[in-house]
Symmetry: C2
Subunit: 452 residues, 2 copies
């Protein structure tokens, strides 16, 4: 029997995050002020982010030290296990080896707390007393509720009203950790009041919730804003995943040939893959293949344009250079809510643009079929988002079965699906719809992107 | 910073289960045939259990080997971590050290698969093709669905109808692992048909579901029955928990002074504690204290009588010697559904009777208060059942704070509460009722226990 899990001692939690900006062939295009179209500076971000995170955002240092207090919290679930999916390999009759890094062991159940904890810490160090953020189904909100609690910060989460009503479980998680969870649009902010005045029954949207959280942070001296993906410092914090995985692959005596991760904003994929891509960018391992997996219903990397656009639908953020479907694009209601984002992290987009990273897209039925195969062999019920890269890994293993290649396949198993079982139910009952994205509506949305 | 987690390599998964029957001062009273009041023999059990499990049920061998194929499945999540609750200790300002064994890392999220996997294996070895069982909220049913799947057995779960409708998530888990989940009472069995004829809208009960599952197994040549707690062989399989914990305490350089576990049927408590109690029974460590934690709404060990009674409400099982509130006792609807059992495992009851094990009972509000303290320090949202022994451990740590004792406290953290968040919500909103058990109804129920 081959070894199933590769574990590290908690002393081996990384002591520094890996910053891929140090190894980019050319620097990132800077974010632009939407009014002046000039690059923004630290002073533009200071009202909503603490200085240390602003520094990390633009740093080109290869290694950013992880404070001991953050490593102490990471010990609650890190190092996370690297699994070899022996039973899945056997069921697929593939000569390939399949490995996955399992982030579902964190208390909020995903990779998200890797950055939530770090952000809470740096804010606490600069005297911030409260963090405000937005959440859709609650994945990010619950991670931040957890992270802030451990450093004694207060936390206010603006949760999209329709999710607040329909998906109470993550709201209860947030409240159990002591966070305040507010259905958005709310009467707490000027923007929320304005929206409610126009439409008292507004179900809310992530765009509106972002606007409320930013306004809350900008207006209150003791409060900052926190974002769960897209930004450089968020991707940076997630590299603990890939750094651990590299050590664990050494224990296994293997190194991945091809890596899969799902992409919504890009932090999960980047966290797991960037530390390996370092070897590709520095010429140590030019053959490494990395594939970003996204939904066909929201095909940002596979069908979007590489250009400056707003990060949010409410057009409050700077313009950032990325693949985008247009900030006004509204994707169909697939179950993988975390992958319904019109853009992607600038760092990841640049690597796709430069063909360092590949991208592929799937429909939800084939994705859930892969998730069921995984559940019935390896036991774990993954989140619908994660299921996208399970599909990528299984397809690659089946290709190897045809060619006889003994490839080493890796995927980032970013979280469990305990709060997504209704989606499994729909799949099992044949009720899941494979939405095509509308190229017409993308065309329309792209027209509204400001010219730079 | 003290070490947080004590991990074992997967080679250190125990190679044998510990059978406490070898170390009992006097043997267990035998189960009796309810008609003849004579001890039952293997032939009485053969229609519903495979021979190997019947042998384990009565064995007095100290060590029962764990088959390699079972250990291979255990590798999917075992060895589970032993945690030191450093943050909880700090918050309580206690000089005590608090350790917990975390079983929520299993795919079904609790300790239950430790026996589900073993039972599926031994049935498979004897040519059984399908297992039938009952489930209330779905904790046990999902563990058996998982266990049977990994050995290629079919699984039929009779789920209490009202839970089937109101708590769909564990039903979907079972179906995702390939099990068939049937609302009980059903048209599948004669007993179910009879119940439905009398009351077509019957919401079902665990007693009815047990009867249907046993009838299904007894009637079909290829099918056996499976039980998730109470029986000796179930407790035996759970000792992997305590055996691992003993090795992990060695790594930590500690040994528990006092151990807490919640008790519904008794398999969780017994699995974690029996391997340590071996040291008490054999005189190596006579001072060890072990405390079984139960709800005040169903106080079997603290208020029940030690006598022969049926294991089920439908009076289909043999008579077993145990603490009981009477098989007809219907406990109030507390959220810890797994602790609403009128009896307890005969092995555990005997140890309580002989004062080797202590017992204590709590109300739900104090239990949830402890669970919130735990969640806000250690991150994990435990199941309502588990919360009972979190309460026990916290109280002990606070006593140590007063006395200055540096005790080593252990509790069995048996599972997560991801499907019990509505209970947390009730607690946080002040809507949780502290039910008193009715001593009148216990008196009535005890009157109906057959005389032996």
């Amino acid at each position: 029997m081959a070894q199933t899990k590769f574990m590290l001692d908690e002393e081996e939690i990384p002591k520094a995050w890996y910053n891929i900006q140090a190894d980019l062939p050319t620097p990132l295009a800077p974010p632009l002020n939407p009014a002046t179209k000039k690059p923004i500076g630290p002073e533009d971000l200071a009202p909503i982010f603490p200085m240390e995170l602003i520094k990390q955002e633009v740093s080109t240092e290869r290694w950013i030290p992880i404070p001991e207090e953050v490593r102490e919290v990471y010990r609650l679930w890190r190092p996370s296990p690297l699994y070899r999916a022996v039973r899945l390999e056997r069921a697929l009759k593939t000569p390939a080896k399949i490995y996955y890094k399992w982030e579902g062991v964190s208390p909020p159940g995903s990779h998200k707390p890797n950055t939530a904890v770090a952000q809470a810490y740096f804010n606490m160090k600069e005297g911030v007393e409260r963090l405000a953020t937005e959440t859709g189904a609650g994945q990010w909100g619950s991670a931040l509720a957890f992270g802030t609690r451990l450093f004694g910060l207060k936390c206010t989460v603006y949760m999209v009203h329709v999710s607040y009503d329909q998906k109470p479980y993550r709201r209860i998680m947030m409240e159990s950790w002591g966070a305040e969870c507010i259905p958005s649009p709310s009467e707490r902010t000027e923007y929320g009041k304005k929206v409610l005045k126009e439409d008292p029954k507004c179900p809310g949207s992530l765009g509106i919730a972002i606007s409320e959280a930013i306004e809350d942070a900008a207006k209150h001296e003791d409060t900052k804003y926190s974002l769960g993906s897209v930004l450089n410092h968020v991707l940076l914090h997630q590299t603990v995943v890939g750094l651990e995985a590299k050590k664990q692959f050494e224990l296994a005596g293997d190194y991945p040939d091809v890596m899969f991760g799902c992409v919504g904003g890009g932090s999960n994929f980047s966290g797991a893959v960037f530390p390996f891509l370092a070897d590709k960018l520095t010429g140590k391992n030019p053959e490494l293949k990395a594939v970003a997996c996204e939904p066909k219903a929201c095909p940002t990397l596979t069908k979007g344009l590489y250009m400056y656009d707003h990060g949010d639908t409410a057009r409050m953020t700077p313009l950032i250079m990325m693949y985008t479907l247009g900030h006004g694009f509204i994707p169909p209601p697939i179950h993988a809510g975390g992958l319904r984002y019109h853009g992607d992290a600038p760092l990841l987009c640049k690597l796709v643009k430069e063909k360092v990273v590949d991208a592929t897209a799937y429909h939800q039925n084939e994705v859930f079929k892969a998730a069921i195969t995984f559940a019935q062999t390896e036991g774990i019920l993954v989140a619908p988002e994660t299921a996208h890269c399970v599909k990528g890994a299984i397809d690659e293993a089946l290709r190897c079965k045809e060619t006889g290649e003994e490839k080493i396949i890796f995927f980032a198993n970013s979280g469990h699906g305990h709060f997504d079982l209704a989606a499994y139910d729909s799949y099992l009952r044949g009720k899941l719809i494979d939405y095509e994205y509308s190229s017409e509506s993308v065309k329309e949305a792209l027209k509204k992107v400001p010219k730079v």
